[in-house]
């Protein structure tokens, strides 16, 4: 598996929270060679099981496959679309971006002229799909249709990539990388690779999937913020600093047994890592921790700048470090 091309392939498959079918089909085909059983639960979580030889633990590794977007709420007489955000949209970032609907209708999302950028919220915005009337727009889109800011990804000089939605297709790619690494290994543990739905609207998909799997141990793979840009809030996490071992985010405090084990393995195997304390934003880690009787949880994060903007940025070497560290972690259990 070539990491960059996999991330790009995943990014270019728009799938807003609640409409994950396209990305699920793609991920099914990509993970299928590395697992023994593939299933989809009632919410739409994709669960790939690599069976152990028995007597081991149940280990759940999860990354969310949904992304933020917009939903059409109303069509004006002049053919403009009103929208509501699905997930945490940065409207300042989204202004004047190209957007595309789930059926391929293109347009641009525009703030009204009288609102200042600091006051931007969803009801100041409309999507212009080039329709000249409501009748013409009705023929192309309906109430409840999803739009996303057009996906794209490019390599920058020096190993960094920029585009969207790295949150969390880069985590999905990391999960695929781990699955590939472990596919030939004989393990006594059952490994569940879970691509979750609806993370962006409240870490929902991971709850029932963790309930059904009842893992002994769970690891989440998602992006995290950094403190390495001008005027950032202080945060000791940076692009190129390696896999970010999550200690805490706003939704979870990870099990110290897992975080210290990850740090030890990173040091002994010479895998670049850093420790992450994220003060804002939650992840599926918390859902897996508190589902059913609870699980011992940790997370490896991919440091990412400009999260939820049309141009997120991360470094491939950090994603690779997450793959390497998680693989060694599983092999050491």
């Amino acid at each position: 598996m070539e990491l960059y091309s996999t991330i790009k392939q995943l990014c270019l498959c728009p799938s807003v929270s609640g409409r994950e079918n396209k990305i699920r089909q793609l991920l099914s085909s990509l993970v299928e060679p590395f697992c023994d059983e593939l299933s989809v639960d009632k919410l739409g979580n994709l669960i790939a099981l690599k069976k152990g030889t028995g007597g081991g633990k149940r280990i759940m590794l999860a990354a969310h496959m949904d992304e933020i977007g917009f939903m059409v709420t109303f069509i004006e007489d002049n053919g403009m679309l009103r929208v509501a955000p699905v997930g945490g949209i940065s409207f300042v970032g989204a202004a004047y971006s190209r957007v595309i609907s789930e059926s391929g209708v293109k347009g641009t999302i525009v703030p009204n002229a009288k609102t200042k950028p600091e006051d931007y919220k969803s009801d100041c915005f409309y999507i212009d799909i080039g329709a000249s009337s409501k009748k013409q727009a009705d023929a192309m889109v309906g109430i409840g249709d999803f739009f996303v800011v057009e996906p794209h990804l490019q390599k920058l000089k020096g190993g960094r990539v920029c585009g969207r939605p790295l949150d969390d297709r880069v985590g999905c790619a990391v999960l695929l990388g781990i699955a590939e690494n472990l596919s030939e290994c004989v393990l006594k543990d059952d490994i569940y690779y879970v691509f979750t739905v609806q993370e962006e609207v409240g870490c929902r998909g991971a709850l029932p999937s963790a309930f059904a799997i009842a893992p002994d141990m769970a690891l989440c793979f998602d992006v995290t913020a950094t403190g390495d840009v001008p005027d950032a809030s202080p945060m000791a996490c940076r692009l190129g600093g390696g896999a970010a071992v999550k200690i805490k985010d706003a939704s979870v405090i990870c099990d110290e047994l897992i975080t210290s084990r990850l740090s030890e393995i990173a040091e002994s195997k010479k895998i670049k890592y850093q420790r992450e304390v994220l003060l804002r934003g939650g992840t599926d880690t918390s859902s897996m921790q508190l589902s059913g009787s609870g699980a011992s949880v940790g997370a490896l994060s991919i440091p990412t700048r400009y999260i939820h903007s049309p141009n997120e940025m991360c470094e491939l070497s950090d994603a690779q470090a997450c793959i390497d560290l998680a693989t060694e972690f599983i092999l050491s259990i």
């Binding site: 002994d216 141990m217 809030s233 202080p234 945060m235 000791a236 200690i247 805490k248 939704s251 979870v252 405090i253 990870c254 099990d255 110290e256 047994l257 975080t259 740090s263 850093q274 420790r275 992450e276 304390v277 003060l279 918390s286 921790q289 508190l290 059913g292 009787s293 609870g294 699980a295 011992s296 949880v297």
Partner: protein, 348 residues
């Protein structure tokens, strides 16, 4: 062992919210020969029990959260100062010059940096994330012991005031945990109305009601008592939002708890002459009870409070008489065949 000693010992066990497992060894030293240790689960709940020895006995759960508010190290500056973020509801008003302990590879003392009044330009309190901790160490030496993610707690300093009042840190909620454990330790096996589990639940102060859900889910008790501290009346607080120190534990009446169990507990107190105060907590108790009540298909729960003043500071204040009364209430509750029978009939 005296109740007061158990309170001081438990409250001094390091268990900053999310890092409860650091306290496992010390907990076992204190309790291992007195109660059966069931497990520390994946989330960080510690579970102890005493069984009554009868078949098909009801399962009774006593919950008290074992985590305490604190902070977490987010960075070590070039000059060796520590940046921190809060774990739980830390009050910025008490932080200047506070004594803290950083639980790194070994516990080390630190002090929160403060600006002397001579040099202060305004009286605005800095947010917790703007505070620095001075350990006296350089960045290099600090980094050998402390890492990003190390928990930080207040220094455990305890004192007895006159009139049976105790002051110190994290009585919220380990004083209640001590009362539950003390009551169970001293209850003869033959007198128990069922198998009694003490759930020392985790992360109440951070994910609020999170850890108890996993614990109650796995234990799946027939009925439960949640015990947490309650705001005590001090000058300038409203009487209808507070309870009175020295007048016994409070019993909450709430839509988020079980009415029959609550009334049965109230009747039990009246019958046995146990001092108590009724308090209305209309739609939520602000404690684990709200969450236990909604676990699985619903677990009947009664919410009991220990009056405590100066909550979430390093000098919380409780009344030892209230603690003794709370122990008496818990003893009667876990030994009440009447309540066990009532809960069984309701289920049937």
């Amino acid at each position: 062992m005296q109740l007061k000693d158990l309170i001081f010992e438990l409250c001094a066990v390091p268990s900053v919210s999310g890092f409860e497992k650091r306290g496992t060894q010390r907990l076992l030293e204190i309790l291992g020969d007195k109660l059966e240790f069931v497990a520390v689960d994946g989330v960080g709940n510690h579970i102890f029990r005493k069984c009554c020895g009868r078949q098909n006995a009801p399962k009774i759960m006593l919950d008290a959260h074992f985590d305490e508010i604190g902070m977490i190290v987010t960075d070590i500056t070039e000059a060796g100062f520590l940046r921190v973020a809060p774990l739980g509801g830390i009050d910025a008003a008490i932080m200047q010059a506070a004594d803290v302990i950083i639980y790194g590879k070994e516990p080390i003392r630190g002090v929160v940096c403060s600006t002397p009044p001579h040099l202060r330009e305004d009286d605005e309190l800095p947010e917790i994330t703007a505070l620095m901790i001075d350990t006296g160490l350089s960045k290099e030496r600090a980094s050998e012991i402390i890492s990003i993610g190390s928990p930080v707690g207040f220094a455990p300093v305890y004192a007895e005031l006159l009139g049976q009042r105790l002051v110190g840190k994290s009585f919220d909620d380990k004083a209640c945990a001590a009362c539950a454990l003390f009551a169970l330790i001293n209850a003869p096996t033959s007198s128990l109305a069922g198998d009694v589990y003490v759930l020392l639940s985790c992360t109440e102060e951070t994910s609020r009601l999170g850890g108890v859900t996993a614990g109650a889910f796995s234990l799946s008790p027939d009925y439960a008592m949640v015990i947490d501290v309650n705001l005590a009346r001090v000058p300038d607080t409203k009487s209808f939002e507070t309870v009175v120190l020295g007048k016994g534990p409070s019993i909450s009446v709430s839509a988020a708890t079980d009415v029959p169990l609550t009334r049965a507990t109230q009747r039990l107190c009246e019958k046995k002459g146990i001092a108590h105060q009724m308090i209305a907590a209309p739609s939520s108790t602000g404690t684990n009870a709200t969450s236990v009540n909604l676990t699985r298909e619903g677990i009947p729960v009664v919410d009991i409070g220990l009056p405590l003043a100066y909550m979430h500071t390093y000098n919380e204040l409780i009344d030892l008489n209230d603690c003794n009364t709370l122990c008496a209430l818990i003893s009667e509750f876990i030994c009440s065949g009447e309540i066990a029978e009532q809960m069984r009939c309701l289920e049937g």
